[in-house]
Subunit: 245 residues, 8 copies
């Protein structure tokens, strides 16, 4: 379409219908976004390999189903976060899968898995967030290894996972309460670490702010942190790092 | 003095100068604190074995010296926190000692040391607070073992201190930044742990609040926490626990 | 298993199949956690005398029952915090007891009680947290003396408990709102004090943060503080202190 | 002046120069503040008996002196808060007095003192704020009784002041750190209590917010609270209550 | 009872059964609270004229009814805050009255009313808190004048209440949102002002903290502030001030 | 009424019944609000062209309907914010319209629209707040152009709206999460920008405080900010600016 | 320059040197910002009439002078905020003026003033921020009327400014402490109001956050708020509104 | 040493001096850290290629010099953060370089540079933090491309850097104030983005917390965030990602 417009201007000028100044004016006034940004946008969809992801929480179930089916029809893929069994049942998409722990619905994710994303969780209550990261990264095409319930109160459990720690390319470390696990892991590996604080805890856990701040203050240099409970974002970033050429 | 008053009432009654009702009235109106509370107060000094401790910060140097000399004259002992070399020099008390790391001045502390208080610090910047705890507990009569710079980023350093960990009766764990050390230590020992957050850190360390909150949220049950940088309080409490009959 | 591995290395070396250097290498590469950490973990269970405690809040009732029954089968003991009558009824464990005030379920706690843990609460609304501490310490084997509703607004009520104050080895002081009770108690006794702020209050009580901060700022040196509403942790720590050899 | 205007309108109407509707319009458009508010303002000065008080902090010394002298010339009275010896010396007002503890300068306050305002301070560091309240209330004409250093850690000290507590009409209770004193005092008297939190403390004292929040959450009903370190405001309010007809 | 004990000691001494030193010891060990504090407590009930007030929120309805009936039986008076129609119906106390706006239940309050407590509210949403103050002060025996919906956005409404403002002995000013009303009122009267912030508002009203802080920072000296939504406390304090002899 | 009073004073003076001084006194003592403030109030209603707007949230449905019908009867216009379909159905006002997205009910708004208020929203979840602004400004008489879902993550979408940006007189920019949109828009236009943070987000969005603070810190000078979710206020202000003569 | 590039492409195509597809490619790859954004940027400078404003605080004096002179050379105009007399003296620009109260330096601002921006300040300490707004708006070409020291504690002072209030097109209301002034002003006028909180105050003024939050929660709809102490931004916005065609 | 111990055990067993069970016991009790952790530590130094980095702020200059020289002697490399010209001059290390903008001192960093780390800063005040990241990543061996002053208020400046954006492997985006830049960049590239908030700003920038929270709430999925002003950490992480095999 843009190309059509451009061609027309060029031809009008070549034919003499437009003087050089008129042609210049036309070109200057062409909506730039039609030239450049749209292309970038197109790139964005191609490169990320993700159709629009649906964030189900706070939306009415019927709306989630409608949006999800539309997306699936257009792209042949689907990822819904913070969903429920009920939405899953209404969805009726062949091949879709409901992940109960993370509340995610996934359909036709990338089948070939590459690299190794290690996902650690401190406690069992942190597993839903860890799983959100795991399902996301796997959906995008990363090989994912989960190692759960290795909190710092029993440091030997973490030590037992030494091999997994050493074969990972990227690590996602999920922890609530005091958020200490990323620091301990950070002292044992030399790979990129993405820390995800969770809202698990009570009193001074402040809904996850304490774990967040603790992770940002890690005495190990080079740990990056996500928003509270943001397993999805961690999965995206880990996949980006894992698949860096 | 109170006793004198009491005696007088009793004698007046015995002699008939006071009727039984008059004596009752006199007794009821005796300031109760003269009977009971003063005694408690007296007990307080005896049992704690600490003369009033001088908190030097925010006081003028001359005032600190005057107060300290008065206390020393009365009690023969002296402990000043947050002091300076300058105050120490002006003090002119034989046997007094200036602890440069903690900024404490001590004179004639309890010579016989008992039990074992282990004091761990996460980083080198946390040492002043750790030393404040160490000097305090030692002054009061506890045997103190310092193990510094054993932060969680190098978990093996903590492991090297295993023997010290196991022979302690009480542990003081001092850490700033993410405040993770108490949780890891808590998974390795079964003795009372006193966690002391420090104001070491920047940005989201929030002047020590992050370490404080992290410690309060420890996934290990039974860790008690002191105010930020409160090494003195930790030393007092550790000594109380260490010397429980 | 580890022992088997170790034996094989030693025998291979003795038999000459492994040179001393080869044997050394094998030993160095043995997963350390198999040697040491597992043992520590074993110790952890023995020394604490607590099977894993179940935190019921936020878990589905059926799950709590399943987990609790599994733990009871393995260890013959059980402690559940933040539970309900309903869970208790489904549990069907002989000898289990439901503590209505604290919402705890307990089965086969340590029968012999030792020492003396005094548990004070400021108001009647603080009793659930105080009871959580009481049931926990008692379950672990401490003798517990509760003294409730002795808030600072009626200082004489606290004074009436003078004897209990003086016979305690450890004190747990539970208070919400302005959290002033620990400071007043701290002026009357010379034993270790564990302060527990509660979320009782409204407006600027900030869900317990005000009581927490007040306790951390106590003008009495040596008071240790737990997370908001953390009666369980206070009970654990008090028991550890109470049973120090 | 306003009166002149009014008179002119009335006379113009009486003389027939203004119809009744024109007179009405003129009256409606008279600036109301000239009629009423100015009078109120005049009242304000009379009733409060305070000329404008000078808040010296943050102002240049020369400016403070100039303002203060102008006020003194007009009103014959003077009160400066947060001042210094240096300002005092430059002031050169006969009969002026510098209160070193509170940093206040006062001249020609109300000589006759009435009622009884009791001012309690928890610690010695709270005395400057307590003195600011004391000097203010005394300057305005209240009889003031200071009872300092009666913090809750030594409850017997407060009990010794029982008589003073019982003869007060209004109480100002000044405390930093955990801010517990107002609650304890509130349980002992039935007079109005004004609590003043101070910024004394460190770590979680949060510059006085903790004491403030604790006081607002007092378990004793009916304690009113001032801003942090606001001794001046407390003195004003106590005087107002003390002199209620 | 105490008197009996005292008499016995005195008589035993008089009769020679107790030496003077033994008598002294006995007296010193008499529980001091039996002498003094109990009396103070007795005073507390007499002087406040309030039986224990029941705070219904968070308590089970049946419990509230039981407690309230017990108190009423003992004292012949009753005040319940944050109650409901349902509790009222179950209560079955003759003469009890349910105040729907404030959710209070009152029975047999002080019939004779004295002085004048003016209660202002900024908006209609602040009325429940204002009414809590009004019912409380009236129950205790103060004459109460409510002037509601006079927020600063329509300053003329406040001005219309000028007469009420000037005839008050004490003012309670209730406001949520920006909490500006106390400052404006404070500029118009010279009587004690008690400001009560409410949790009315959204976003940055922070559940009433903004109104609270604004009131504490009033540019008018001498305004005292209560906890958020604490109409009951304001009513108690206003009555204390109003009835100062 | 006031006029009646005034007339009487003037006539009494003219007739000689009141001396000039007596007339002056009467005039000075007339309640000023009767003269001036009431007039201002009258102005307020005229100039704003809004009858009282009903804020439905937190009110009982029946009450909302009653209030709304009363207002409509008096003014012939109606605007209700945060309402529901159910209220709309009960309302039974001819010509009333329910805006589902914003939850507003409107009847007989200003029919002639003027100027151009551009309303941008960052995400689809921000639309309810944007619509509240849109309906408000339109009701008051502004022409409104909505451009939704132009968040900064897809900057080309914003660029496509370039023409709308340039033809606006005032812009309302609604955004939650990181609140970045106003800064980007501010770099592209030279018209007044009103930024409205929304509570959309989770974790560190802190209920909209993060977006609010981000907007207040915009690197573009001259962006004004409203309270969180305050679409109504933004609509009012935009209309005021848009209709400046 | 861009035009040159464009012309070359068009000519090359017309001459046949570039096929239409080659010409299309060239056009597509032209950096769009060269076409469009640069123009927008150019517009930005023209429309705002402000050369880059220098924010002096935190920069070294020498640097400020260098930058300022460069800007002045290029644009013939200059505005520096948060500057000092010292910088002014070093600047040596003819016609430059130093505004002592606001710490601004201005040279060759817009000489013709239009409209009417009213700037109110609550207290004398708020004047520096008010003056920053005043100097900015005036520099840009607005007529500015300052009305200072009209805080709500003396409401009659504000009333005296009624005429100024009514003749303003835009109002900037500057206040610290409780930040109540904008609400009161908002009830008296129907023009756009820009509220600027200042950091004036202590204790719970929280460095201006309390005034900020109070203003955002104003009970008057349609008040917009700037960052704390941001007089410059308020001046810019007021000028934009004031000069809306 | 450990090896010596191990050898002795093996030899004793081989010689028959230790039974197999005795040998097993000895092996189990060997301090595990001597076997395993030390090795890991050694790995840590090798793999990171960084000797201990010196954080100079808060340390005395002399101490920094001593520590730095010791490290340099041992490792032949040196990196000091938050240093000064003065320290640099005292250091006297050949080949050392002082980076004025970031306050870093570097000596003998990795000479061969690999990959491409793009470092963007929003404003000129953010450059010191951006430079800290740049110098760190370059020191470790990454090729670094800085693009500064491309804040969102002038979106075209960012667009001009399109080529740099597209050729980066990892991006570090540094911004203070509203922290919006990472979101806009995140919409334009598909590479890992590390966001660094700075403490640049005033008022509600809250020392960088606002920028931090905004970045954590980015509407672009997969942006990781560092502590406030933590350029060093960002440089470390970017290098780790950039050099992932």
């Amino acid at each position: 379409m843009d190309t059509v417009k451009l061609k027309k201007i060029l031809q009008s000028h070549q034919s003499g219908a437009l003087s050089i100044d008129q042609a210049l004016d036309s070109l200057k006034n062409l909506p730039y976004e039609d030239l450049s940004f749209a292309k970038i946008d197109h790139h964005r969809h191609i490169r990320q390999g993700i159709p629009e992801v649906v964030f189900a929480r706070g939306k009415e179930k019927g709306d989630v189903v409608t949006i999800a089916q539309a997306i699936f029809k257009k792209s042949g893929k689907l990822l819904i976060t913070r969903a429920s069994q009920e939405i899953y049942k209404k969805l009726k998409i062949t091949g879709a899968k409901f992940h109960r722990l993370s509340g995610m619905i996934e359909a036709h994710g990338e089948p070939k898995k590459t690299g190794q994303v290690l996902i650690l969780s401190a406690g069992t209550s942190d597993i839903p967030v860890a799983e959100e990261a795991a399902v996301t990264a796997s959906f995008l095409g990363s090989r994912v290894v989960p190692v759960y319930d290795v909190g710092v109160a029993g440091i030997h459990r973490l030590m037992s996972a030494r091999k997994a720690l050493q074969s990972a390319r990227v690590l996602i470390v999920v922890a609530g309460m005091e958020g200490a696990l990323p620091s301990v892991v950070g002292g044992l590996v030399d790979k990129p670490i993405i820390a995800v604080p969770t809202s698990v805890g009570y009193g001074t856990s402040l809904g996850g702010l304490t774990a967040l701040f603790a992770m940002l203050n890690s005495c190990v240099p080079g740990i990056a942190v996500m928003n509270i409970d943001n397993g999805f974002g961690a999965g995206c970033l880990a996949h980006r790092i894992n698949t860096l050429r």
